[in-house]
Symmetry: D2
Subunit: 344 residues, 4 copies
Amino acid sequence: MDRKTVSIVGASGYAGGEFLRLALSHPYLEVKQVTSRRFAGEPVPFVHPNLRGRTNLKFVSPEKLEPADILVLALPHGVLAREFDRYSALAPILVDLSADFRLKDPELYRKYYGEHPRPELLGRFVYAVPEIHREALKGADWIAGAGCNATATLLGLYPLLKAGVLKPTPIFVTLLISTSAGGAEATPASHHPERAGSIRVYKPTGHRHTAEVVENLPGRPEVHLTAIATDRVRGILMTAQCFVQDGWSERDVWQAYREAYAGEPFVRIVKQKKGIHRYPDPRFVQGTNYADIGFELEEDTGRLVVMVAIDNLVKGTAGHALQALNIRMGWPETLGLDFPGLHP
Amino acid sequence: MDRKTVSIVGASGYAGGEFLRLALSHPYLEVKQVTSRRFAGEPVPFVHPNLRGRTNLKFVSPEKLEPADILVLALPHGVLAREFDRYSALAPILVDLSADFRLKDPELYRKYYGEHPRPELLGRFVYAVPEIHREALKGADWIAGAGCNATATLLGLYPLLKAGVLKPTPIFVTLLISTSAGGAEATPASHHPERAGSIRVYKPTGHRHTAEVVENLPGRPEVHLTAIATDRVRGILMTAQCFVQDGWSERDVWQAYREAYAGEPFVRIVKQKKGIHRYPDPRFVQGTNYADIGFELEEDTGRLVVMVAIDNLVKGTAGHALQALNIRMGWPETLGLDFPGLHP
Amino acid sequence: MDRKTVSIVGASGYAGGEFLRLALSHPYLEVKQVTSRRFAGEPVPFVHPNLRGRTNLKFVSPEKLEPADILVLALPHGVLAREFDRYSALAPILVDLSADFRLKDPELYRKYYGEHPRPELLGRFVYAVPEIHREALKGADWIAGAGCNATATLLGLYPLLKAGVLKPTPIFVTLLISTSAGGAEATPASHHPERAGSIRVYKPTGHRHTAEVVENLPGRPEVHLTAIATDRVRGILMTAQCFVQDGWSERDVWQAYREAYAGEPFVRIVKQKKGIHRYPDPRFVQGTNYADIGFELEEDTGRLVVMVAIDNLVKGTAGHALQALNIRMGWPETLGLDFPGLHP
Amino acid sequence: MDRKTVSIVGASGYAGGEFLRLALSHPYLEVKQVTSRRFAGEPVPFVHPNLRGRTNLKFVSPEKLEPADILVLALPHGVLAREFDRYSALAPILVDLSADFRLKDPELYRKYYGEHPRPELLGRFVYAVPEIHREALKGADWIAGAGCNATATLLGLYPLLKAGVLKPTPIFVTLLISTSAGGAEATPASHHPERAGSIRVYKPTGHRHTAEVVENLPGRPEVHLTAIATDRVRGILMTAQCFVQDGWSERDVWQAYREAYAGEPFVRIVKQKKGIHRYPDPRFVQGTNYADIGFELEEDTGRLVVMVAIDNLVKGTAGHALQALNIRMGWPETLGLDFPGLHP
C-alpha cells in the first residue's frame, strides 16, 4: 500500500512525541516533518531519547511546515483555534490532540475555557473515543481526540448509561493522574524534589474534561470530577461511584460491558476473584493502547464502583488518535498499536 | 516525674515498631519489653534498622511478658479478643492498636468481622481519635486506637456533620492508602517487582473501617468507602465527596473546622490559593502526628471535596495512640510526637 | 515462511515470561507450550497481566512438555544441568537462560557455583552475547544466554580490551541492578514496604557473573564486580573504572567502539555534551533490546569511566536470547525486538 | 541556659531549610531571621510545607539582615566569598554551608572552582566533618561545613588511611546521590516526568568534592570520584573500591573503624551476616544525622569495599553543621539531632 505522509506539529511535547513514536513504527505512515519552536534544528532524540537510532529527523520551526497527507496537531490549547486557517490549508486530514475542537456546545466551551475564537467550527470535528464514535470516524477528515481523563471516564460510564443500568444520582469520578499530564515544560511545581513522593490534589473541582464527559454521555447525567496526581509519570486510574437501579445485578453490568465492547481490540474487562492483579492497574497498560475496565458491586447498597486504567499518553491521547486515524483511512485498526506492555 | 514502664506486644510489626520508635524518645516512658514470636531473641534493630544505636532491647516471645504499667497491643486482629484475660491481667492500662475493641455495636462488628469472642467487652474500651474523644480518654484505662482510614475519614467529616453543614446525601470516601497498611508479612502480592509502580484497587467496596466511621459520625450518615493503594510505603490521602446545604458557603465550612480544631496541636488546615503545595499531601506529614485537612467547594453545584492527609502508622495508629496515652496520663499531649516532617 | 514451534520451560518466572512476551509477537514463532509447576492450569495472564487478550495459553506442568522445534529454558540455576537428558531429547534447539552452561572452565564453575553435575557438557553450549559471539551462534543448536550483568559488562569492556585501549590495572565494575533480578518468588527481603526506597548493596564482592566476564574478555583481565540494587524494577546501569594507556585519547575510545559496533542494530553510543539525557540511562532502554553505551575520559589522569544501560530482562536475558535465536535460524536479527522504549 | 540567636541566609533552599527545621527544635537556639530574595514576605511554610504550624517567621530579603549571635550561610557557591565582609560583620560566629571556604590550598581551589575572590581567607575557616575535626571545631568561630559527598567519602576512608590499612593503589569512589543535591531551583533536567525513574550519571569524572577529599585524607591518596544520581530525593550511598595491605584482614578493618568511631554518637557500623538490611542503606538514615558505615573484604584478592550511607541534607550538610555548632558552643553534641529515622 502507498504510505501516507504525516507531519506532527508540536512534536517535542509529550503528546506529539508519543504520536511520533507510534507513527515511526506504523507500516503505512511516513513521518515527513516534526515541528518544535524551541528545539528547531535539534535531532529528535535530543528531546526523545527513546528514539535514538530510530529516526534521522530534526525538528523544524512551525513556519517551515509543508503540505502533507495528514497533519497531527499537538499544540497548547487555544493555538490551533487561533491559527486554524493556516494549518487546515496544509493537509486534507487533521488530527487535533488539543481541547480546541472537542466540544459542540459553545456554552459549555465558554464555561470551561472562555470565549472560542472560531465558534462556527465547533461541531465540525469528529470527537474521538474510537470505541464510541467509530462510525462517525470513518468519514472524518477533521478529528478531535478526546481528553485523556474524558477517555477513561467515558469508556467506563458510556455502556452503563446506554444500557440504563444506573440510577439517576450524581456520579462521582476520581481520576488518579500522572505527572506527564502537566506537559513537557518544567515549572517549580514539577521540580523533582518537590514532586517525587507527593500525592497532589490537582483539580478537586472544576475539571475542564467535565464538559466533554457530560456532552458525550447519554442523557447528560450529573458527573463530578476530582483529579489527583500521584507521582507516576504515566497512567490514569479512573474510579466512578454510582448506584445501579433497584433490582439490577452484577450480571446486568457484565452484560452492558459485553454489549459495548465484545470484539473491541483494545478493551479488556479485568475482574478476577483471586490472584494479585484483580482490577485494572495503570502500570500494566503503560505504553499500550489498552483500556482495562473493571467494576465491583456492593450488593446490599447497590453501589457500583467502576475502574478504568489507561496510559494517558497512548490510549488517552496519541494511541487513540492513531486508532481513529486507522479507522478513518480504512486500515486495520490495531496497526502500530500492538505493544502488550511489560511485566514486571 | 517518675517514668512509667510500657511493654509492646507485637513489636516486630509495623504498628508496634512505630509505637516503639516513639516510646524510645518519650521522656516519661521506659520501654520494658517488646514481644515477637518470630524474632524472639533478636535485637530490635535486626527488624527495625532505624533503631540501630537507639536501644539494646531484644524481642522476647509473648509468653515471657511481665507486668508493666502500660501494655500496648499490636496484635493481628482477633488475637487480643481471644486472649484478653491474659493480657489484661498484666497491666492496668491497655492500649490496643487492633480492631478488636473499636466498635460498640455487636451487630456492626458481626457484619464486618464475624462473631466477636467477647461481645460483653464491646463498649468497654474508649475509642480514640484524640481530637474527637479527648474527654473520654482522660479517664480511660482501656483505649482502642481508631483505624488509620477511619481516623482520616472522621477527622475530615466529623466537624461538618456536627455543624450541620452537609446535605443528607451519600458521602463517598476515596482512601489512597500505602503498602505498609498490609503489614510486615511478605506475600506474593507484596513482592516488590509486582507491587512497585502499581496502583492497586484494594477494597472498592466493603471496607471494614466503614463500621467505625459510621458509628462515630453524628447522625450515622450513609458513608461509602473505596480504598486504593498507591505504591507509597506510608501515608493516607482521604478525599470525601459530599454536598453542602443550600445557601451554605465556604465560610461555613471554615467555621466548622475552626470550631472543631482551633488549638489542636496536630491538626493543620491546608488550603492555599497559590504555591505548589496547596492541599494536604501525605508526603509532608510522613513520620509525623499531623493531620492536614483541606477542602474545596464548587460554588455552582454545592459539591464539597474534603481532603485529609495523615501518616497511617503515626497519626493513623501509633502516634494517635501515644497522644491518647498522653491525655490519659495527664502528660503534655505532644510529648514524644514533635517531629515536623521533612522537606524536600 | 514456516513458523517454528517454541515451548518455554519456567514461563511464570520473569525471564521466561519476558521471552513469552517477545515470542507472542514474533512472526516466525508459534508458542506451543508454557510450563509452570506452581501455576499449572492457570491462564497465562493470571501471572502476566500484560498478556491479557494476547494469548489463550494456559500453563502446564513440566511433565506434560511435548517435543517442539525450539525449547527455551528459564529454570532456576542448576535444574537444567540435573535434568539435561530429558529436556535435550525434546527439541533439537535449546536456548538456556540459566547459568548452567555459560562457562567453559570447570574450575571457574566450581569456584562460583560448586560442583557441576555434567562437567562434560561445559563448553558444548555457545555462550551468547550476540554482538560478540555472532559467528559462533550461526551454527549453534545449544545456546547459553549470557547473564544480565555479564552482558552489560562485556558490551562495555570487550571492544576496549580487544583494541588494547586499557592499561593492565584492575577494572572496577559497579552494577546498579533492579529488583526483578531477584526473580518472581516473594521473600521477606522483597516485601514492598522493606524494599521500596532502599538502595541495597547486594553483592559487594564475589558476584558469580565475574566468571563469565573474565572468561569472555580478551586477555582475562582482573575485573572486580560490585552489585547494588536500587528500587527500580528493571534495568542495569554498569559503570566501569579503568585507565587508558598513556598517550591514548578519547578518539581512540570512540574508534574502538565504532569498530566493534558500527552497524549493530541494538547498540547505541550515547555521549552528548549538552541536553538533559547525556549518558546511558536504564530508563530509556526499558522494555527494549538496546544497549546504550557511553564513556567519559578524565584527561589529566587517564581514568576512563564506561557506562552501559540495558534492560536486564530484555537485552540482559530474553531479548538477547531471541536475538541469538534469530541469528541461529537465519532470520532478520531484529525480528520481534523492535520496541523503541518510552519517553517520558 | 541563655538561647543564642541564629539567622539563616538562603533559608528557602534545601540546605538552609534543613538547618531551619533543626534549629526550630533546638533548645538553645532561637531563629531570628531567615532570608530569601525570591520569597521575601512569604511565610516559611509557603516554601517548606513541613514547617506548617511550627513557626510564624516570614522570609526577609538579605538586605534586611540584622546582627545575630550566629549566622548560618546557605548561599550559592561563590556568593559568600564575594560578600564576605558584609556577612562577617553581622555575627561573631559564621557557619558556611557552601564550598567557598572549605579548602586550604588555593591551587586546589583554582583547579576545581576557578579564581577565589578572597584567597587570603582560605584556611581561616575550620573545615567540619565533626568526627574528624572535633578538636579544631571547639575553638572555631568560622566553620565551613564539609560537602555532602566529601562527608560520606571521608567518614568511610579516613580511619583506614590513618591506620595504614590500605595499599597505595588508586581508590575508586562511586557516589549514588539524590535529586535534592541539585538544589531547589527548577530546571528542564529536574522536570519530574524527565527525572523520575531515571538513573542519571551526573559527574563520571571531575567532581569538585575530590578536592576536599584529597586535602583531608592522610597522605593525600589518589582518589577518583564518580557521582550517579538515582531518583531518590535524599540520601547518599558511597562505595569505595580499594585493597588492604597484604596480610591484613577483616579484623584490622574493624579495628580501624572502632578506634576512630567508638563512642561517636552518630556513626553506626552496619555489617550483618543475615537479615534483610545487612549493609548501610540511605533509606534508613533519611532525616537523621547518622552515618552508617559497612564494608566487605574479598579474601582471595584483598579487595575492600567500603559503604557509607548518609542523608545528604542532614549528616551531609545541615546536620553536621549543627553538630559542629554544638561542639563549638560547648553544648551536648546531639542536641537537636536526635531523630532516629523511619521504618518501614
